[in-house]
């Protein structure tokens, strides 16, 4: 079972992710959006959305720090385990709190504002469930690490994570980690698995190129960026919830 969960499944999820993203980009550029609901309601969104998104960005940085950078490197730099732990715990708790509060506000808003709820697809709901569970276990990890120094994830989860990308997954390391770490990791790969088929694709349209682009875009013949698929109904996973009324 652990071989499947910690060796087979991550590769499966990532393969589906890569192929899925290419497929979605090729065939569903029209559906590539989060279908903003700001038009319906903006007071709750104004608080919840930046809290959640900045929290997530912060948490991503934290994951890079904890998972990608080997413990040996920070040790070599003379950063003690206690110092590292302090940074990780404070950063983790702050971003975790931002994410949880933001997520709670957004879910509350999505459920209680009728127009927003109407615009929520089954696909969205399933995604929120997986995302919510992932966040829940992530938060549990942060809190358990804060209270109990006993288990150091940088000696189990992190090497396992890197071993996946070295194509020699070290299942045993992960199998010894506490349950909440295992659950968080598996859920995260479930999230990666469903990623291309949900609204999460919007993460990859972060418009960084805007910083270097001329303000006004001109287009002339033969300069369409890419060849579109004209006069064709949008394909892919997405159907408008409001269109079904």
């Amino acid at each position: 079972m652990s071989t499947f969960l910690f060796a087979v499944f991550p590769y499966l999820a990532m393969a589906v992710f890569v192929v899925g993203m290419i497929w979605r980009y090729k065939y569903d550029k029209f559906g590539w959006t989060t279908r903003s609901s700001q038009l319906y309601e903006s007071k709750l969104l104004r608080i919840g959305s930046p809290l959640f998104h900045y929290g997530i960005l912060f948490a991503v940085l934290g994951h890079v720090m904890g998972l990608v950078i080997p413990k040996g490197w920070t040790d070599a730099l003379g950063i003690s385990q206690d110092a590292y732990h302090l940074v990780a715990v404070v950063g983790g708790l702050v971003s975790g709190a931002m994410i949880c509060v933001g997520f709670a506000i957004l879910v509350f808003r999505r459920r209680t504002v009728k127009t927003v709820f109407n615009a929520t697809t089954v696909n969205d709901k399933a995604m929120y469930l997986v995302l919510g569970l992932t966040i829940l276990f992530g938060m549990w990890n942060t809190i358990s690490t804060t209270i109990d120094h006993h288990h150091n994830y940088r000696e189990t989860v992190s090497p396992w994570f890197r071993s996946i990308f070295a194509f020699s997954p070290n299942v045993d390391l992960m199998a010894t980690a506490p349950f909440q770490f295992q659950a968080h990791a598996v859920l995260a790969f479930v999230l990666i698995l469903i990623w291309p088929f949900t609204r999460l694709v919007h993460v990859f349209s972060a418009p960084i190129q805007y910083l270097g682009r001329p303000y006004v875009v001109y287009r002339t013949k033969g300069d369409t960026g890419q060849r579109p698929t004209p006069s064709r109904a949008p394909q892919g996973t997405w159907t408008s919830p409001t269109a079904r009324k």
Partner: protein, 572 residues
């Protein structure tokens, strides 16, 4: 000098009767879809009034358009690139649905299904967003004809500076209509605000469009546009805007709003301009100089040097020719009677307006004086400061001088032409008083009042060698989800929108009855059986025996008894 061609429009407000035909036909053509219920690419506002969306002109609130930075360079009023990206998770300057209006429909079914009772059944309004019964509180033209303006009118942002002088007492008020579409600006802030680079200006004709495949729904364009003429489709999550009916323009026919305008007040034509001069003109320090600065970037195709240079830069000859005959060029640069809407936004708008003389004419007439007399009108234009200052707030950033000049010209034309109509000797001094000759006045009268179709619309067709690229520019109308053939039927591969529309329009216009039009269905001779438009005689079988019908001989003589048989069968 980089010469570019721009498809532009002028609207003669004196002739607008506020019938909203343009809005309705535009709605039918472009925005009668889920997600765009609240959207009017074309709307008609009564001014003074709040407009649509409410108070959109108040840029202290909405931060649309450009402003000059401390270094004298243009910057987005809503914040630069970094600020846009930082606020991408929640656009702080986005109008909410209440700022437009909550769209609604009526429960018509209740009229038919309600049980018999003492009172008439009513059709209650229901929200089109969540289906709940609602009490409409505002609409796209709620303050039409100054309705309720005594209460809301003072919130009109254009009353700035003249608040005390304007009264909303019904008998002392003035009003006119302002139809609005996208301005297809030379320096568009919607495009500049788009993080994804999905909004672009077509190099061929300057039409501003949204690439539906590239739009990611960040909504920055909606905040950026000071005219609030780009909208969020809440069903697809993408921005949509007035397309200047590009599929029609490409084949040389006017936009739907223009074509259906009963007042014949819209003019469409090309303007050539120097694209390299746009930024400098939009950066002029004095807001009131922006009108003249924008006129300065336009080039005169009748100047042989300009025409030669335009040709050298690859503008097709027939386009240069069309630019020479452009009615828009005549009104903007020759007669100088058309003014831009809100030049102070620094977007260099390309839908211009001839301000209305009618509020002044009405005022003069009500005093019992001759409202067609040049002297009376000239005097009144000066005396009636309120309409003048209000119009100046709309069209010249508050500078009354250009507005007065336009109104003087319109007054002179009125007076000069009356003498001709009454077979009196026309008085040249009237024309001279506004810096024109009698011949020019007559020509202006022909363009403004007679307004022949071919003179109002001078639209060169897109070039065959360009046409393919144009219609494939990823601007395919996003008509919705899984509903192919919204533009009409047709089998085989997808037909480009432009060609299909032209073909069907022509067929519809030339056909004697709708059955001759491919893809169309006539309900007039549908008997209620089977599928309308399909010949039901083939579908139905005499005596209800499948196969009995088609096997019968089909010569005309055999048809007759067959028809009689059916008539007996169906006592209708």
């Amino acid at each position: 000098m980089r010469i570019m061609a721009q498809m532009a429009m002028v609207m003669n407000l004196d002739k607008c009767i506020g019938c909203h035909t343009c809005s309705v036909t535009c709605k039918q053509a472009w925005t009668n879809r889920t997600g765009l219920e609240y959207v009017w690419f074309n709307n008609v506002e009564t001014r003074p009034g709040l407009g649509y969306p409410r108070r959109y002109e108040d840029q202290d609130t909405w931060k649309g358009g450009w402003e000059l930075g401390r270094n004298g360079r243009l910057k987005l009023k809503g914040g630069g690139r970094l600020q846009k990206l930082a606020t991408i998770f929640n656009n702080p300057k986005l109008p909410e649905i209440e700022d437009y209006y909550e769209p609604w429909t009526y429960d018509y079914e209740n009229l038919l299904n309600a049980p018999a009772g003492k009172t008439f059944p009513v059709a209650r309004p229901h929200s089109l967003l969540d289906g709940r019964p609602m009490n409409p509180q505002w609409g796209a033209n709620w303050d039409d004809d100054l309705g309720g303006t005594y209460k809301t009118g003072h919130d009109d942002p254009m009353l700035k500076g003249i608040e005390e002088k304007v009264t909303f007492e019904f008998d002392k008020s003035f009003m006119f209509y302002l139809p609005r579409i996208c301005e297809h600006c030379l320096n568009p802030t919607c495009a500049a605000s788009c993080p994804s680079g999905a909004i672009y200006k077509r190099a061929e004709d300057g039409i501003v469009l949204v690439d539906q495949n590239r739009c990611r729904g960040w909504r920055m364009c909606i905040s950026g546009c000071p005219y609030k003429k780009i909208y969020f489709n809440h069903s697809t999550g993408k921005a949509e805007k007035c397309t200047f009916c590009y599929p029609r323009i490409e084949v040389g026919i006017p936009t739907v709003c223009s074509e259906t305008c009963v007042g014949r007040l819209r003019y469409i034509g090309l303007m050539l301009y120097d694209a390299d001069a746009v930024t400098a003109a939009a950066s002029v320090k004095d807001e009131q100089a922006l009108y003249e600065a924008q006129r300065g970037v336009f080039l005169d195709p009748r100047d042989p040097a300009i025409a030669r240079e335009a040709e050298r830069q690859g503008i097709p000859l027939d386009w240069i020719d069309a630019a020479r005959k452009s009615p828009v060029l005549r009104l903007i640069n020759d007669f100088k009677v058309a003014l831009p809407l809100h030049p102070e936004y620094r977007t260099m708008p390309m839908v211009w307006y001839i301000p209305p003389l009618s509020p002044i004419v009405d005022a003069v007439r009500e005093t019992g004086h001759d409202a067609e007399d040049a002297g009376n009108l000239f005097g009144a234009i000066d005396a009636l400061r309120i309409p003048l200052e209000y119009l100046a707030n709309l069209f010249t950033a508050g500078d009354v001088e250009p507005v007065r000049n336009v109104l003087d010209k319109l007054a002179a034309m009125r007076s000069y032409m009356r003498d001709i109509n009454l077979e009196r000797e026309p008085r040249e001094e009237i024309a001279r008083a506004v810096g024109m000759t009698g011949a020019e006045v007559k020509e202006m009268f022909r363009l403004l009042a007679i307004a022949k179709y071919d003179e109002r619309y001078v639209i060169p067709t897109a070039h065959a060698e360009q046409a393919h690229a144009l219609e494939e520019l990823a601007t395919d109308c996003p008509v919705g989800e899984g509903s192919p053939g919204v533009f009409g039927g047709g089998s085989g591969g997808p037909v480009p929108v432009a060609i299909q529309t032209l073909r069907e329009t022509k067929a519809r216009m030339q056909a004697d009855d709708m059955r001759q039009v491919p893809g169309s269905v006539s309900y007039l001779d549908w008997d209620g059986h089977g599928v309308p438009g399909r010949d039901t005689t083939e579908e139905r079988h005499p005596h209800g025996i499948p196969g009995a019908g088609p096997d019968l001989p089909v010569d005309p003589q055999a048809e007759a008894p067959l028809k009689g048989m059916r008539a007996q069968e169906d006592p209708q």
